[in-house]
Symmetry: C2
Subunit: 413 residues, 2 copies
């Protein structure tokens, strides 16, 4: 059945989908170097063709450069200041609790996936990590499941059952290349079976946290991704792909993680009572040990904001420090969900809380991570030629959360 081309509007934008399968992909943690390394070796002929026939450029992601933040931005088409998701983890001032930010109750904008479904598209969301499913499927009448818990998907709750049967393979381990490849193969299977015609496929960055771009394991991974891109192209899909954030090594020359334990340092310097929130924190500790390049700092009543701010900015490895208001304005983060100060660290530096908060032995190899300014820029690829209006738009400050806009509106003549 031909997909509907009924337009839908959400968060101030109107989308006019083509009557073809539309597949958007969030290549979690895919710094551009990963594509470069695989493409130079001829391992991504389909992505190569897409980038010549269509568009390949760099897009600016949302800050902090974390997974939940950017996934929420991509499916809503707006910045975190609007959609409200400020991290994987935050301090909820209402409850006084530090909590995971996986619940859709924290989402302040509707998703364009829900709107597309309402307009009659067969929408499917497949995510590697189950933690993202609730936010991405919020309000969605359609299919939504994770690779991690594919076996648990039920028609009533996930819009689909028997996923493993459809796929002809069991759900993958979450700490594997397969966790992402399963997502992409699920997308192919759903399009092929006519079960979905507007898809959002969101990977996990386990491989990028673990391997640098030239590692054979990660080259194999990108080659396997390319194979599935080929299948999607054969099925007539328009494909748009970007990443939620980049990835950099965050270690010293001797291989040790390069960490500033901010809460310890602040407590020692200014006499206790500081709360440092690391919004990278999530249940998947093997990836990064909750160490990233962004922190939110809550000050005790006794501390002087300017004094603490200046002191933080003088720390080697710290690159930017902003008060709440400036961070909200310049970094587009919801002011009520960050601390009194936010701190970003350098390309090879992460911020931690106290040594007790981080189990470095859980780190699977060296530390590669993200969260700051140096993981803000991500690749952005569209399989079809852009029309004139979107060619001009692409030359500006292209954002990764314009992915649906470009994939849907940018490819229509």
């Amino acid at each position: 059945m031909t997909p509907t081309n009924t337009a839908f509007s959400v968060n101030g934008r109107t989308y006019k989908p083509a009557q073809r399968p539309i597949v958007t992909i969030c290549l979690d943690g895919s710094a551009d170097e990963y594509l470069d390394a695989a493409m130079a070796r001829g391992l991504m002929p389909n992505l190569q063709r897409m980038s010549i026939r269509g568009f390949r450029g760099m897009a600016r992601g949302a800050l902090p450069s974390f997974t939940n933040v950017n996934n929420a931005s991509i499916v809503t088409g707006v910045s975190p200041a609007v959609h409200g998701i400020s991290g994987n983890y935050f301090y909820d001032p209402e409850s006084g609790q530090e909590v995971m930010m996986n619940s859709a109750k924290y989402l302040r904008a509707n998703t364009l996936l829900a709107a597309a479904a309402q307009a009659g598209r067969k929408v499917a969301v497949v995510t590697a990590k189950d933690k993202l499913r609730e936010i991405l499927s919020h309000g969605l009448t359609g299919i939504g499941f994770s690779a991690e818990k594919a076996a648990d998907a039920q028609l009533a709750t996930h819009g689909i059952a028997d996923v493993e049967k459809l796929m002809g393979e069991p759900a993958p381990a979450i700490y594997s290349a397969n966790a992402s490849l399963f997502v992409l193969r699920a997308g192919v299977a759903l399009v092929r079976a006519g079960l979905a015609d507007l898809l959002y496929l969101s990977f996990t960055d386990y491989m990028q946290h673990k391997y640098e771009p030239e590692a054979p394991e990660v080259l194999d991974f990108y080659a396997a991704i390319d194979l599935e891109l080929g299948h999607l192209l054969e099925l007539g899909a328009v494909i748009g792909a970007t990443a939620d954030h980049g990835m950099n090594a965050k270690q010293k020359l001797n291989g040790e993680p390069n960490v500033l334990y901010l809460e310890t340092m602040l407590d020692e310097k200014f006499g206790g009572g500081f709360r440092v929130i690391l919004p990278i924190t999530d249940p998947y500790v093997l990836h990064h040990g909750a160490l990233g390049s962004f922190a939110s700092v809550y000050l005790p009543p006794t501390a002087k904001l300017m004094e603490v701010s200046s002191w933080l900015m003088k720390l080697p490895g710290v690159t930017e420090v902003y008060d709440r208001e400036t961070a909200a304005e310049k970094l587009e983060i919801p002011a009520d969900r960050i601390g009194d100060l936010v701190v970003m660290s350098g390309r090879d530096v992460v911020v931690g809380r106290t040594t007790a908060h981080h189990d470095l032995s859980a780190l699977d190899g060296g530390l590669r991570s993200h969260g700051g300014r140096y993981e803000e820029m991500v690749p952005f690829v569209i399989s079809e030629p852009l029309n004139a209006g979107y060619q001009a738009k692409a030359r500006g400050d292209l954002r990764n959360f314009d992915l649906f806009d470009f994939t849907i509106n940018g490819t229509q003549l």
Copy 2:
């Protein structure tokens, strides 16, 4: 004659050159997207082979992301805080004059080119723009000339005469692809003739200011670069290439330059007497009309630093504002050669002085420029495999001014 492998030390580093021609290249304005676009189309087979056999990654340039600053960093191996070159143009507090920063009298560090020559290497510097020649050839016993004024080179002053005869072609127009290609072909000719065995070849970014990465003109340009890389590889050279800065479109959707006229705005808001220095300013106005993403602001005595700083930071399009001390520390700029405040602007925004200071009609097409944080990251390619120590170093916060270190020391087993 086999090149000498005598070690030399400069600015705290020791270099132990291989007994092969060593050719380093500054691909002026080569944002990584230019390499991506050309490589995806199969136009750079030699660079592709280099990146597989050797190393390709991203390096962090020096700020402000301008030509003189980064060329000085590359040939000294240190940051602007050490070598003293803070822009193409600055306000000299000693003379009270605004002047071009092309003179070697502003250089506070010796170049490794001069040191290599002293150790017995046959050194040659070839630059597209003559403005760079003096700084790059400072203290050098060897060859140093520009494509722009190749016809003027004399043995006594440039270490070589009859350049056009050696090359078999006339000096190119400065506003051309040939201005850079001539530099590279000169490098090939010098190595082939046995006149040089350690070279620094520095391009001009005219093409990147003028064309976006997918433009046929710029694709042809990179294909022509690759051809010469092939010749250098055939001559047995070890090649290291990086860029001084990236390049982004700085215009509105309607094609107009996206400019904040800071001096006008500050004078209007705070009552006059502000001096805004744009360190991108140079004699080559067709490139960018002196519009970049970095400004240095000198305050009148009446102005309050914190107040002006906060106001600037609130301006849409401004991304970072630092006082002199913080800029010196965090951006590694010489404190005595910047203003009371420095300002950086967004990926698609430039800062200007007053409308009278900028002849927009001189802009050759749209405005593409650089100078800020979003042009800080640049490609970095070494033709030979890195040894274990430099593989680890490459995984850290790799800098573009480590180019000689990697090309010379990183490729020795």
